[in-house]
Symmetry: C2
Subunit: 468 residues, 2 copies
């Protein structure tokens, strides 16, 4: 039996009682030195190890108690055998509640290709006094409609679920890759404001508030700010929160979501299409290389439909014709819904572009197509597998007269709050383009998640009361 | 005279008239292929070049017009000489207004160690019809108090100023380095929500709003969310907007700022102090290596006071004694102001820690010091050169009884909206620590900027009406 300080193992004391007080200047004293994933890879079995973590599961078989200890990197079994560890330790192990935090000491031992800890000491950092059903660490189906209310209402607890963690680690991976791609391509990160003077784009879904007697809004899109910024930096991007206060039952809408936005000067529709294809292909490949294990935890594989470029295109007019041939009663000028997008996507094995979205449904800063004034110089990218619209790209208006025509169309001409957008067209404006892609939709498509709410740590949807 | 297509140079036509229509699938057609910084480094002078950019300055000397063309990478002189370029081009060059966007073609020529363009063709993409005084591209002193109203009221225009651009490029550099550091140290990026059910920390400065009949708040600090997250991921960080709706005349407060927040499990005050010192030292060194040219544009050098670690420390009690010795009438338990911090900082050539901030002024989740219950297990880092508080670090409470005591102290015990923070202490809570550092304060200190508002693209201060 390895040596064990019984005094240290005498009960559920606070960890403060035995943490090493570091002395300044002494560098890091971080208690936790060892992680589960490292232990499983160690070849020097029989060594003494110390592991901090949480109780994922407890199994009692007569004289033996098995405790599955989990940390952010995985799970390892700790074995407490009566007679092989102090009685007080055995009794404590037997009484551990799920999710209690512990410090386990013992000898590492091979268990097939994995490792386990033959425990001699146990300190209870904090005994969990509440239980959550289903247990957060259980291999539950986090997408099961029957438990959605429980999972969403207790999201802070279920962050500890390994599938939830896998999705959020994938989000971490994806966001890092997006930053990496933009920076490698010479884009400058411009953090645009959340608090804005005007509702950008869609007035109806803008979330308003009052600060110091001024009526303002939460940003819906940072496009206006980036349009100005490209006239200095030429290529800019922003990854930050956007807000839409619209009632929605769709699986791809959040009230608060993270928005990847980019804008380029001296570029046109072809350029922005090629840019987006390059970004999506890069992220798809890199996620496939680096995120395979995370997808596996979810029982998924990374979607590679976007790896090959270019993506096919149809015009909006062709899409309408195609829908009519399929018996859908669809009017030119309307917005395509999820059902229509899904029907169209059956024709393609890649994401595909719908080029030339009608001016009636696009925001005012987008260029009207000189060859067909019913539509704009824009394109929407529709995902594979029925996941619908991923993003939109657009040429932004350069000429003041076209901007005024569009402002008038949207009832905004003469509103002084839009004058600064008119000023841009008087101050050396150049051809420029932009696109916007929701982080959550991108994740949802790449790892096949039913609802965008599962791809963000603390989802905010219009229908659900905000809490926590 | 180099060849020049007169048809193309016949006037201020829209660039749409001559942009190359790319044919799908044809890859990128981005108009702009050449940048000023590249031209200045080219050895093959006498080559024909095409440059897109803006008119920074125009000088007319009889038969010669000099146009300084600027893009995101620098400025190059284009020379239009009567007789050496078509008359129509010469006349157009002569009539160019400042900030007009242009396409210049001509021959590259050496001009000392730099290059210039002997122009043969000129296309006016968009003739600027308004002027801004002072001109955005002039070498103005952007910190001059006399022009602050003009600069802040026309921030979108002045993004094009080279000093403003240098600061924002520095911001881009710094944000990239911070992400890089956290990721290299094993932190998971957890994007916490902006919309929150409770005012976090300071109720008085919380910005409230109503969504779908629910009263909510804009986040002041993502600490609560990260506290839960470390019980899954152990080490997490977040870089995102935070909001403080408080009246302030200070030079280090914004109503909307970007907040670097991190939290660690199984760690104590010594750990978080060492972590912060490591981060600041890394960023200081890397900014010095990579941001020197940007600082030079500002007539600054990168502050290296934070490179050497560890930083000195005094306790809050010692700080109070020190102030009293200096004749300052300061009460134990109060918050240190800018003046006090500046006075204390004269003792140090490095940033320094004030350890043990009083419980009266610290938020409820921070640990009370068992050795001196008047203070908390926290430390504030004070910058050099009078820049005041940079950030705070804290041990977060692990025990429910201490949390309840602190909730009661702050009048929040029994409020169901804080029950989820109590739940954390019942669910295997472990020792954990956190820190928060404003991006803008960090930049301000590193490159010596008078006011934080100059370090963010579109500043929001409480006193200034939000626009644009």
């Amino acid at each position: 039996m390895p040596l064990c300080d019984l005094e240290q193992s005498a009960g559920g004391k606070s960890i403060r009682n035995y943490s090493v007080e570091s002395v300044f200047p002494g560098g890091s004293s971080i208690m936790k030195k060892q992680y589960v994933s490292d232990l499983h890879q160690r070849l020097d079995v029989d060594q003494n190890v110390v592991l901090y973590g949480w109780v994922k599961a407890r199994r009692i078989h007569g004289r033996i108690v098995f405790i599955d200890v989990v940390d952010s990197t995985g799970t390892i079994q700790a074995v407490f055998e009566k007679g092989q560890c102090p009685d007080v330790v055995f009794v404590m192990a037997k009484g551990l509640t799920l999710e209690s935090s512990v410090k386990v000491q013992g000898q590492l031992r091979a268990r097939g290709i994995q490792r386990e800890i033959v425990a001699c000491c146990l300190d209870v950092i904090s005994q969990a006094s509440i239980a959550v059903d289903p247990h957060v660490r259980d291999p539950i189906d986090i997408f099961d409609p029957a438990i959605q209310e429980q999972l969403l209402g207790h999201r802070h607890f279920y962050l500890r679920n390994e599938k939830v963690m896998a999705i959020l680690k994938f989000r971490h991976l994806l966001m890092g890759l997006v930053h990496q791609w933009f920076r490698s391509q010479g884009y400058t990160e411009i953090t645009a404001p959340v608090l804005t003077a005007v509702p950008l784009y869609d007035d109806r879904s803008a979330i308003g508030l009052t600060v110091d007697n001024q009526s303002i809004f939460l940003t819906q899109c940072v496009g206006f700010y980036l349009e100005w910024a490209v006239h200095a930096f030429e290529k800019v991007y922003n990854i930050g929160p956007s807000f839409r206060g619209e009632e929605s039952r769709s699986k791809r809408h959040l009230m608060e979501y993270w928005h990847i936005k980019a804008e380029m000067a001296f570029a046109d529709l072809e350029d922005v299409i090629a840019t987006v294809e390059s970004l999506i292909s890069f992220v798809s490949v890199a996620c496939h290389e680096q995120g395979g294990d995370l997808a596996k935890t979810l029982g998924r594989s990374i979607c590679r439909d976007g790896v090959s470029t270019p993506y096919p295109r149809i015009t909006y007019a062709e899409a309408v014709e195609s829908l009519k041939r399929d018996g859908v009663d669809f009017q030119f000028g309307k917005s395509l819904g999820s059902d229509e997008e899904e029907l169209l996507s059956r024709q393609f094995k890649q994401p595909f572009w719908i080029v030339g979205v009608p001016r009636t449904i696009e925001p005012f800063p987008y260029v009207v197509d000189p060859n067909d004034p019913r539509v704009t110089r824009t394109a929407d990218l529709i995902a594979t597998n029925g996941y619908g619209e991923l993003l939109g790209v657009a040429e932004k208006i350069q000429d003041l007269s076209m901007l005024d025509e569009r402002l008038a169309e949207k009832g905004k001409l003469g509103n002084p709050l839009y004058e600064w957008m008119r000023d841009l067209r008087k101050f050396g404006c150049v051809p420029h383009v932009g696109f916007g892609l929701g982080v959550e939709r991108f994740i949802r498509w790449l790892i096949d998640i039913p609802h965008v709410r599962d791809t963000i740590p603390f989802p905010r949807t219009f229908r659900r009361k905000i809490f926590p």
